[in-house]
């Protein structure tokens, strides 16, 4: 689960991590009030207005702007709130439709008063799948695309692995600060920053923290100017407060609907919808659709209990996509009995009524023959198959 920048910063702050302070606003009036408060607090007329959407690269699409007056804040807030912000990471990238901005963060300008003495670093924490340990990745090259830095100047990207039983040790935090070329007050602040950040990472069961830039200010303080926080959904049961931070507006509405009824659905661009039990088989089914001349319109895992109700929900969700020209249902019955799934398909088909696209049903495993019989005798326009290859051939056939 992804957090907004302002939510991520609040989380970091609660663990003692220094952040670029700000106030979130959903209207222009709120933004102006926030600007005045920030200006009074900092004694500076400079502030930054940042669009709050779940995507990086917001600056590139005009979603991050420096303002230096009340009027400027009003104008900028008015422009950004409600805009369709395009970034390299929004769907379709810079050529896509963009994402609606519903909230902005009015933040202090951390580069004031002495822009030239500020230094930008990169710090992230995540779990390294190969080592099965958490790792802190950091670089002196902050504020840039870290993938590019890693490719062009790999020696500037450092990694510090954390022993799961010991946790982050003080010398490791110092090592990070030294490697970033810091000394004096900034060195101490960075050691503290890293220690608090790691505490926050473990404490919130995060799967990714990315602080870019992490900045040394003109006063030799270290602050998180931006942050990307992803939390482990499997751990939300022990973080009820964090679970409430989910912003459904940022998620695909159909995917949210699917999730609510226990389906795992991802919308794709193709023309053949599919409904499968199990994630691996679902991906394999998408592959076979492609090999049969189609393109998968979705990924949909109905899970372990593919009963009639779920099948009907799944049907309705797939049919919402106007690009769907055919639907392939692929169920391998283990514990779940194929005849029950077949009956579910027939019932759902009748309940929904007006299904205009051809449907191919492949049921294999427990009671597969019985299932095929139910489908074949239903009188519905449904093609049935038992072998995976037969189902693939049927897809090719209906696509003509």
């Amino acid at each position: 689960m992804n957090l907004h920048e302002y939510q991520g910063k609040e989380l970091l702050k609660s663990y003692g991590v220094a952040i670029q302070e700000g106030i979130v606003a959903t209207t222009v009036d709120e933004a102006v009030n926030a600007y005045e408060e920030i200006a009074e607090r900092t004694g500076s007329k400079f502030a930054v207005i940042k669009a709050q959407i779940h995507a990086g690269g917001r600056g590139k699409g005009g979603g991050v702007k420096v303002v230096k007056s009340k009027d400027g804040a009003k104008e900028t807030a008015d422009a950004i709130l409600g805009m369709m912000l395009k970034t390299p990471q929004t769907p379709g990238g810079m050529n896509g439709p963009g994402k609606l901005v519903r909230k902005i963060l009015v933040a202090e300008d951390a580069y004031v008063p002495d822009f030239d003495s500020c230094e930008e670093f990169y710090v992230s924490i995540l779990m390294d799948r190969q080592r099965k340990q958490n790792v802190i990745i950091y670089s002196t090259e902050g504020g840039m695309d870290i993938e590019e830095v890693a490719e062009k100047t790999p020696h500037l990207v450092h990694k510090e692995y954390i022993d799961p039983e010991q946790g982050l040790l003080p010398f490791q935090a110092r090592k990070v600060a030294f490697n970033l070329g810091l000394s004096g007050k900034a060195f101490k602040q960075m050691s503290k920053f890293i220690a608090s950040l790691y505490k926050a990472f473990v404490g919130s069961d995060a799967s990714l923290f990315e602080i870019n830039p992490c900045m040394k200010t003109g006063h030799d303080d270290i602050v998180a100017v931006d942050c990307k926080v992803t939390l482990d959904e499997n751990a939300l049961f022990r973080h009820k407060d964090l679970a409430e931070l989910r912003d459904l507006d940022e998620e695909d509405p159909t995917e949210v609907e699917a999730k609510n009824v226990g389906l795992n659905y991802v919308n794709l661009d193709g023309n053949v919808g599919c409904m499968v039990n199990g994630a691996g088989l679902a991906m394999a089914t998408m592959d076979i659709i492609k090999l049969s001349g189609g393109e998968p319109a979705n990924f949909l895992d109905v899970g372990g209990t593919a009963d009639a109700k779920r099948v009907e929900h799944a049907f309705r969700i797939i049919l919402k996509d106007p690009n769907v020209e055919a639907i392939l249902i692929n169920i391998f019955g283990g514990i779940v009995r194929c005849d029950r799934v077949a009956q579910g398909v027939v019932d759902a088909y009748k309940n929904i009524g007006d299904i205009k696209v051809p449907i191919i049903v492949r049921l294999q495993g427990t009671n597969a023959d019985l299932a095929k019989d139910i489908i074949d005798k239903s009188g519905l326009e449904v093609h049935s198959a038992i072998q995976l290859q037969d189902a693939a051939d049927l897809v090719a056939k209906v696509l003509g």
Binding site: L126, K132, S207, V266, G278, G280, A284, F332
Partner: protein, 290 residues
């Protein structure tokens, strides 16, 4: 012969009296698996499914001689259950539970390294040696005793491969569902190595997915040490590139993450790679003829 579990394994079920545990333990017993008891804290001394219930895994080891455990404990407590099994001296720990927090598994993985045990899973269908022991949630009836070892990260896709192998007239030595989580106890390479060293296994089917580098690691092992034909498939050739892990994840994931890249590496390492999941069984038949 087989690997990990056989008719002599002394198996317990952790989370024995729960809904999942009860159902699947029942299925395991019906298959003929040597289930010697189960563990549910607080219910020790009672019986369930005609088997003794123990309060702790240590009791199950000392009183029932358990050496293998199948875990159906809910996600918040599953990490603890794995560590309890390891500390009690269980040799093969098979964790079926889906949805364990990643940071729990980081700790578990480090903890069990000090013990002489092997963890399979979590988030896996389990391990089956057909005709001898079914330790997990897979449908027993699609399997047949034989000489093909299967390693897979997914559940139903494994059943698909098993079914194709059976229909092609072959059977399975042992099928190992290693699980789909970011941290798993037994990697693809570990499982392939077990089967490569099993004298009764004549061919290996390796089924992977996008993400991580486990298949590439296994492929490099096969190139160096392989003595048997291996058929490979990677699910997710059409999956869109995810952005969920952001930039930092991509640094570690690297370019070996995609299905295409993995298949290329596997092919270069001498694995018979199939593009269609419908060709797994027939390709194995062909590979064995060579």
């Amino acid at each position: 012969m087989s690997v990990l579990v056989n008719k002599d394994s002394r198996i317990i079920v952790q989370g024995f009296t729960g809904k999942e545990g009860t159902f699947h333990a029942g299925q395991m017993i019906e298959y003929g698996t040597n289930v010697v008891g189960g563990v549910t804290p607080g219910k020790g001394g009672t019986t369930h499914l005609d088997r003794p219930v123990f309060n702790t895994v240590a009791d199950a080891v000392s009183e029932a001689g358990a050496d293998t455990s199948v875990i159906f404990v809910p996600p918040p407590f599953a990490g603890d259950a794995i560590m309890e099994a390891a500390a009690a001296g269980i040799k093969v720990i098979i964790c079926i539970t889906e949805g364990i927090p990643v940071q729990d598994m980081v700790k578990v993985k480090a903890y069990i390294e000090d013990y002489d045990c092997r963890l399979v899973g979590p988030n896996c269908p389990g391990v089956i040696t057909p005709g001898e022991a079914k330790c997990g949630i897979m449908p027993g009836f699609i399997h047949r005793q034989g000489k093909i070892g299967i390693v897979s990260r997914s559940g139903t896709l494994t059943y698909e491969a098993v079914d194709q192998v059976t229909k092609a007239g072959m059977g399975q030595s042992t099928c190992i569902g290693i699980g789909g989580d970011p941290i798993v106890g037994t990697t693809t390479k570990d499982a392939v190595e077990l089967l490569m060293n099993d004298p009764e296994t004549e061919g290996i089917i390796m089924i992977g997915e996008i993400g991580g580098s486990m298949e590439a690691d296994a492929a490099h092992y096969i190139k160096e040490h392989g003595t048997k034909p291996v058929v490979g498939f990677i699910a997710g050739q059409t999956a869109p590139k995810g952005r969920t892990m952001g930039h930092a994840g991509a640094i570690i994931g690297g370019a070996e993450d995609t299905a295409e890249a993995k298949m290329k590496i596997m092919e270069a390492c001498g694995i018979h790679v199939v593009k269609s999941p419908a060709d797994i069984g027939t390709t194995m038949v062909e590979a064995l003829k060579k």
